[in-house]
């Protein structure tokens, strides 16, 4: 690698951290105690090094179609200990649910049990090939079928499509099933409009558009719910359905949900429920009892599979009798010799709308989610959801005299504040959140949902003990006192105790540098 790679302090300018708060301490190496200066992997390597021991065999070009690679790829060479140290150091610059409280609203950052990791790696599960004969994978199919049974029972729904790879992918699945059902009815060319509340997550309108629907926004009431009158006024023969999150993104249960379901059905449309917030109601409310036609579950939220810095997830979609025939391929059937997979339209006696991903679904995520469900049992899942709701309401109760709760009344598993309490302090939602980072907490979700100004959405989950919540409450109350005292600069500077301080996102977007290259760095 190039000479510059010898300077392992690269990226460090040795400016003292901390502003007025931390003592200035410059170091020669660029590292600061446990906060290591760590270059890019491309700045560390040396030609001729490798972290694997593989035989050096020669191959001829005869069977390579004349397309043998001429130039080097450009990957750096590192020994195994160098790689271990590099990624260990990177990990230490991260905040995870293992590190601390992560009240990121709508993301359900709950404990990720390690037994689930162990099980996902069992021989006979983690190493199974997706194309091995189904006769040699009966246990795997049984596992998926068992998970499907748990999901259908928790949702009171007759069918579930298992293959979607994430929540947004599940949304695609549900909306494509709706589109297929409309095509089957001969109404796809007429029913082109999908109703989406303005509080919806951005994936909802994006999904509707990806399925060729137009999006019509429904306003919210002052109580943070769908404006039922406005919704009814929008119904018509061109409406394909509604995409409604329940509990909604304001952390509230849509108390008129059954009326909404009846009205959309009367108008000939379907009810897509976004299940992102299922954690509030698992074992207490079954979405099938509310009249939904389809709903995705985020197994990486509600059922604790690790978020892994942004995936992988899984987004199975429960389907009503009306939509079940259109479920995508593949799906499992109980054949005469055990479980079988229907992988192709030709083998299906239903009307599958197509295929959503390669192979059969996110098996590794299924395993972890089912292990989580079985560990809790029907009783534990019910307890977990009510503890999540209890925790959110406890935050609401203990913070409402200091911070502005957006909507009155009980909340579900997350509580929404707006930035009214910061008015005239010069402190924004973002500044307040950054100050929380210095206090050792991951911030809440900010500026979402869009229906309130400067939103702060907190989701504590059932994993948090009362003493954690109490320290969090005490911290927020203290920060608010500081904001009210006129010390806006303290917040503008924050965070100061992190591996990096606020980053210039404008510069990043104006002249995008999306990769390392040998000459640029």
């Amino acid at each position: 690698m190039s000479d510059q790679s010898r300077d392992l302090s690269q990226g460090r300018t040795n400016v003292p951290v901390g502003g007025s708060q931390a003592p200035a301490q410059q170091t020669i190496s660029g590292s600061k105690g446990l906060d290591f200066a760590e270059p890019l992997i491309f700045e560390l390597g040396e030609d001729g090094r490798t972290g694997v021991d593989l035989a050096d065999v020669k191959v001829s070009d005869n069977r390579l179609g004349g397309l043998r690679r001429k130039d080097k790829v450009g990957l750096p060479g590192l020994s195994e200990p160098q790689v271990v140290r590099h990624y260990t150091r990177l990990s230490q610059k991260n905040y995870g649910i293992d590190s601390g409280f992560y009240p990121l609203g709508s993301c359900t950052m709950k404990h990720n049990p390690r037994v689930n990791e162990k099980i996902a790696r069992l021989k006979g599960l983690g190493d199974l090939h997706p194309m091995q004969p189904t006769s040699t994978a009966q246990g795997a199919l049984e596992l998926i079928d068992t998970l499907a049974h748990w999901i259908k029972t928790l949702c009171a729904m007759p069918a579930v499509a298992m293959s979607p790879a994430a929540g947004a992918h599940g949304e695609l699945c549900g909306m494509m099933a709706i589109k297929a059902a409309l095509e089957d009815r001969g109404e796809a060319d007429v029913r082109k409009r999908v109703l989406v509340p303005e509080s919806a997550h951005g994936t909802n309108p994006a999904t509707a558009a990806a399925c060729g629907f137009s999006v019509d926004s429904i306003p919210a009431t002052e109580r943070g719910r769908v404006d039922f009158a406005a919704f009814k006024a929008k119904l018509g023969p061109d409406v394909a359905g509604i995409m409604l999150t329940n509990p909604n993104t304001c952390g509230l249960f849509e108390n008129e949900v059954i009326e909404i379901a009846d009205a959309i059905h009367d108008a000939g449309g379907y009810f897509y429920c976004d299940g992102a917030n299922f954690n509030a109601i698992v074992g207490r409310v079954r979405p099938g009892d509310l009249g939904i036609d389809c709903m995705h579950l985020n197994l990486h939220k509600t059922f604790s599979t690790p978020h892994g810095g942004g995936g992988p997830g899984a987004g199975p979609v429960v389907l009503s009798e009306a939509l079940a025939p259109f479920a995508p391929l593949p799906y499992i059937v109980h054949g005469k010799d055990g479980f079988d997979l229907v992988e192709h339209k030709a083998d299906s006696d239903a009307k599958p709308f197509g295929r959503l991903k390669g192979y059969h679904g996110q098996m590794g995520v299924f395993i972890r989610a089912l292990a989580f469900m079985m560990s809790h049992g029907a009783d534990g899942l019910r307890q977990a959801s009510s503890d999540a709701v209890l925790n959110a309401n406890y935050l609401r109760a203990e913070l409402q005299d200091q911070m502005s709760v957006s909507f009155d009344g009980m909340c579900m598993h997350e509580v929404l504040f707006d930035d009214h309490f910061l008015k005239d302090t010069g402190v924004t939602t973002l500044d307040f959140a950054k100050a929380m980072i210095d206090e050792g907490f991951h911030p809440m979700t900010m500026y979402f949902p869009l229906v309130v100004h400067g939103a702060l959405l907190m989701e504590p989950t059932e994993s948090e003990a009362k003493e954690t919540l109490d320290l969090y409450i005490k911290t927020l109350r203290g920060l608010n006192a500081r904001a009210q005292s006129g010390d806006a600069q303290f917040f503008k500077n924050a965070p100061v105790l992190t591996p990096r301080r606020r980053l210039d996102e404008t510069a990043a977007a104006r002249k995008p540098v999306l990769r390392w290259s040998p000459d640029a760095n």
Binding site: R69, L128, G309, R382, Q383
Partner: protein
Amino acid sequence: MRYLPHTEQDRKDMLDAIGAKTVEDLYCDVPQKALLQAPVDLPLAVGEMEVERTFSAMAAKNLSPSIAPSFLGAGAYRHHVPATVDYMVQRGEFLTAYTPYQPEVSQGTLQYLFEFQTQVALLTGMEVANASMYDGATATAEAVLMAARATRRNRAVLAGGLHAHYFDVTKTSAHSLNIELVHPDSDPTRPADPASVIDLIDDNTACVVVQSPDMFGRIIDLRPIAEAAHAKGALVVAVTTEIVSLGLLEAPGNLGADIVTAEGQSLGIALSYGGPYVGLFATTSKLVRQMPGRVTGQTQDVEGQRGWVLTLSTREQHIRREKATSNICTNAGLCALAFTIHASLLGEEGLSRLARLNHANACTLADKLAAIDGVELMNDSFFNEFTVKLSQPAEEVVEALAKRGILGGVPLTRLLPDRNDLKNYMLVAVTETNTDADMTALVQALEEILS
């Protein structure tokens, strides 16, 4: 329940603070008739030991490719994953982090994603890459949608050797957006003919999708197809389902690709019965704002220190809503990390050796199989997977092999069920994990079955 910290006293104290008498009071907005009074009809909680036992029993009903000689490929490949990879991805700071929305406490995730993007760009010979997609099939479907946006055209030509699942996933999303797909029939019985694709390109073609090595293992020269596509103003989407092949084969970026999509499972990621895997997506700087998915960019913090952030977010659903480039939200972060660590361990020399080992083993087995009476090798070119024609239906042969404890290959009709003319064809994949004893076992078993 060991995951739930509250004592009954905690719950009571918290309800008091809230001003509620019971937990049911918290659910006061739920219509009464929908509120369950008792747990649903599912088993009750069990301890860690019982859960492990249940899953071990299910695992025992499967034939493990770690034990059986396994020659399965068709887009998912069994490679040796160094122990370091799995150890590192289980570090809680990686495993249990969310999408890096707060860059100050997410530099670990952001830096490895930047390294991942760079590795993908280097491997594919492209200028930029995103932070990963769900898998190779969905990445390919997204590439077709991207090409349609970028060219404002609504027709795509898919080469006959495109993996059947990739084709089907692309068809599903193209249907929603009224993009027309045209493709020649798959024909593994003859060498791939570029004219079969070139003849279908017209002035309304947004892109041509070509996989190499293709579904049948053949190595395809992209150059004549790219030349024809570019002459018509169409983009070229190059697909590979076996990323290790790029340690030995020319990068598609050097052969005329405008977008490269790939399955990255081969580096660092367990087979896990089909997922989760990691989709790779690379393109040119010119097209970057049409690219779907999350992307990490380099910048500085207020003290001038180098750091990384998620960038170009305005393409995405949380800002653009119905005008987003894709509805995609998450990537395959942890799988991207596994990929990156494995690629970092390999380095230039390790990747080259791995690729050569795969090809050498495949050449060895191809010759051994071709010598069997009743087996015909169809490929002139291949990397680590090839197609053989058997004297008996492949599905029956595969079942017979399985009964002997060998996972011998994938019948083509499992991927192309309506192609009865291909019922005697089987895909065979060979990697560095296959020993001489594995190969001997397969050869002997096939000799017996086909005799």
